[in-house]
């Protein structure tokens, strides 16, 4: 029997009184790669931000392990946050720190490793995303795609159990995007890291995703969950059209 590491129960997301998503419920198993799909403005990033506890939920719970990140405070919240890594859409690297220092920051805060060990761990993470030669650069000196890769290295710094990636392949060239997909599969296989990936890249979805969660703006919630190939053949055109790139 597979162990669910994330349980989203009857989550209602939105901003103020405005509801974006309602009654969202699903579970994610350990080592599973889940992609969140949907048209622009359907609430993919909003759902992600609720799942990592950045935004307060209007209703419902998000259990990571056995702890609810929505209601967690203080040390409990810190403990949950140490178990997750997040790569933001824009990279969100700290502009005043070099790429290496960005990756070393969580290591310095959360691990007992000495400075030399932290540097080797961080440089190896940067090598993993092909940026070891840019370790001493400021983020502003990197291209958009390189900043994304550096952000992935930072998210990986603590080897989190769960990694949330917000549009990781957007803006990357096809070869780098394919390498990133291979990296995600590698980490899921070797370390049983769980991935929640918001993406529009069909090639990526079919390559990496064990299951996909389809959100819909009109339905204000989840309209389908399943393996990408199953969803591509779904009788509901709002689901299958996403995979066939059918325009209305």
């Amino acid at each position: 029997m597979q162990h669910a590491i994330i349980k989203v129960k009857q989550l209602q997301c939105g901003y103020g009184d405005h509801v974006i998503l309602r009654d969202v419920s699903f579970e994610v198993n350990k080592g599973e790669i889940i992609t969140i799909l949907g048209g622009s403005g359907c609430g993919k990033s909003t759902l992600l931000k609720h799942m990592i506890g950045l935004l307060p939920a209007q209703q419902g719970t998000v259990l990571i392990g056995d702890e609810d990140i929505i209601s967690a405070q203080g040390e409990v919240r810190q403990r949950i946050l140490a178990r997750i890594g997040v790569m933001y859409q824009s990279g969100a690297l700290f502009g005043s720190l070099t790429v290496l220092e960005n990756v070393m920051l969580p290591l310095a805060e959360y691990t007992p490793l000495n400075a030399a060990a932290r540097e080797i761990v961080a440089r190896l993470k940067l090598r993993l995303v092909g940026l070891d030669a840019y370790a001493d650069f400021l983020p502003s000196a990197l291209s958009g795609g390189m900043q994304k890769r550096a952000a992935i290295a930072r998210a990986l710094a603590l080897d989190p159990q769960v990694l949330f990636l917000d549009e990781p392949s957007a803006g990357l060239d096809p070869i780098t995007a394919a390498e990133l997909d291979a990296l995600i599969l590698q980490l899921a296989h070797s370390l049983h890291t769980t991935f929640i990936v918001v993406t529009h890249e069909l090639a990526s979805i079919f390559t990496i995703a064990d299951r996909a969660i389809m959100l819909d703006k009109q339905a204000q919630g989840v309209i389908a969950i399943g393996a990408p190939k199953t969803l591509a053949a779904d009788p509901n055109p709002r689901v299958s059209d996403f995979f066939t790139r059918h325009a209305y």
Partner: protein
């Protein structure tokens, strides 16, 4: 928990690693592992290995160790991290002599100077363009900027001016009372506020508030490529962004200074009342010592200070580098440069006014 056990054989050392290799368990092993040198590592009992574990294996491999019997998923991880290849070493920059450093600094200053002159030239050209076709001037933007940087700044200017007037009157009245000269406090406060303190204090506040805001706003726009977007839309950023700010600030600074003078004088009047100097007497003294020329000189200085603040704030914003830290750097430079420019020009004004017997 991870364990490290070293056995020495005639053929060499064998290091046996066991348990979970993560940041918590690798940290205590690190110092020992870094001194091992050439050995064989039996990793058959490693049950988990994450990035920190890979770093430990990297350290051992680079020290000459040979890893054997590591479970396949972790071997794949070592391959993914290329743990057998040394990390990239950035080339050490060549040392430069003092003469080269001096030359570089001079060249940088020359470039900065050229940029400043180009900026003033572009602003003059934009001004000329606007004078020829006034419809190109963004009047609404001027009013919005004037409201934000003039009217909205009035409460803080009023507070500081009132306190300045009161403190100045109080501190001078105490020693002057010993000579029965409290009456002359009105002369002192009136002249110093009108000619010097009100414009200077207002300018320093404006530099911290408006100059910093201009620099931050324009630097953010540059970082977000909004300036490039303006240029490709065929809109000159100097005319579109800088000119309205410069005009609004140059016009608002004298008004703020005039308000500061009046409020400062009221503050001083309240203190004078406590020294038994009637309001009527105080007003008569001030109006007899402060002439219209003094007031006009103060307002003229304030206008020039406002011009300097807007010019420097916008220039620093436009010159910002890339990244979030560039916005902070531009803001700091704007405030520091503005205050230095204000103080220098105030000194020049004092000298010129003296020569002109103004």
């Amino acid at each position: 928990m991870a364990q490290i056990e070293i056995q020495t054989f005639p053929e060499g050392k064998v290091l046996q690693l066991s348990g979970r290799l993560n940041a918590q368990t690798v940290a205590p092993l690190w110092a020992q592992a870094s001194t091992l040198g050439v050995c064989e590592v039996d990793a058959s009992k490693v049950s988990y290995c994450d990035g920190a574990g890979v770093a430990l294996f990297y350290l051992l491999i680079q020290g000459g160790a040979r890893i054997k019997d590591l479970a396949p998923p972790f071997t794949e991880l070592l391959d993914a991290f290329q743990a057998d290849t040394p990390l990239y070493q950035a080339p050490i920059p060549a040392k430069i002599g003092w003469l080269t450093a001096l030359g570089k600094a001079t060249a940088e200053h020359k470039t900065a100077m050229r940029c400043a002159i180009t900026y003033l030239g572009e602003l003059s050209a934009a001004m000329h363009q606007v004078l020829r076709s006034p419809s190109k001037l963004r009047i609404t933007e001027i009013f919005t900027t004037a409201s934000k940087n003039g009217a909205d700044a009035l409460p803080i200017v009023a507070l500081i001016a009132a306190l300045l007037g009161m403190i100045l009157a109080f501190q001078s009245a105490i020693p002057m009372r010993q000579f029965g000269a409290e009456m002359f406090v009105a002369d002192l406060v009136g002249l110093s506020l009108v000619r010097e303190l009100a414009p200077l204090m207002m300018a320093i506040l404006l530099a911290g508030r408006t100059g910093a805001a201009f620099a931050a706003e324009l630097a953010s726009m540059k970082v977000n490529e909004e300036l490039n977007a303006l240029t490709t839309l065929g809109l000159n950023p100097i005319r579109y962004l800088v000119l309205p700010r410069v005009i609004a600030t140059t016009l608002m600074a004298p008004l703020l200074s005039a308000c500061a003078v009046l409020i400062g004088l009221v503050g001083a009047a309240i203190v004078m009342l406590s020294f038994n100097i009637p309001i009527q007497t105080y007003i008569t003294r001030v109006s007899s010592i402060v002439h219209l020329g003094d007031f006009a000189g103060g307002l003229f200085k304030a206008a020039i200070f406002g011009l300097e603040i807007a010019l420097i704030g916008c220039f620093r914003g436009l010159q910002a580098g890339s990244g979030a830290s560039a916005v902070g750097a531009a803001t700091t430079q704007a405030v520091v440069s503005s205050i230095v420019a204000i103080v220098i020009s105030d000194g020049l004004f004092a000298f010129v006014f003296y020569l002109l017997r103004w």
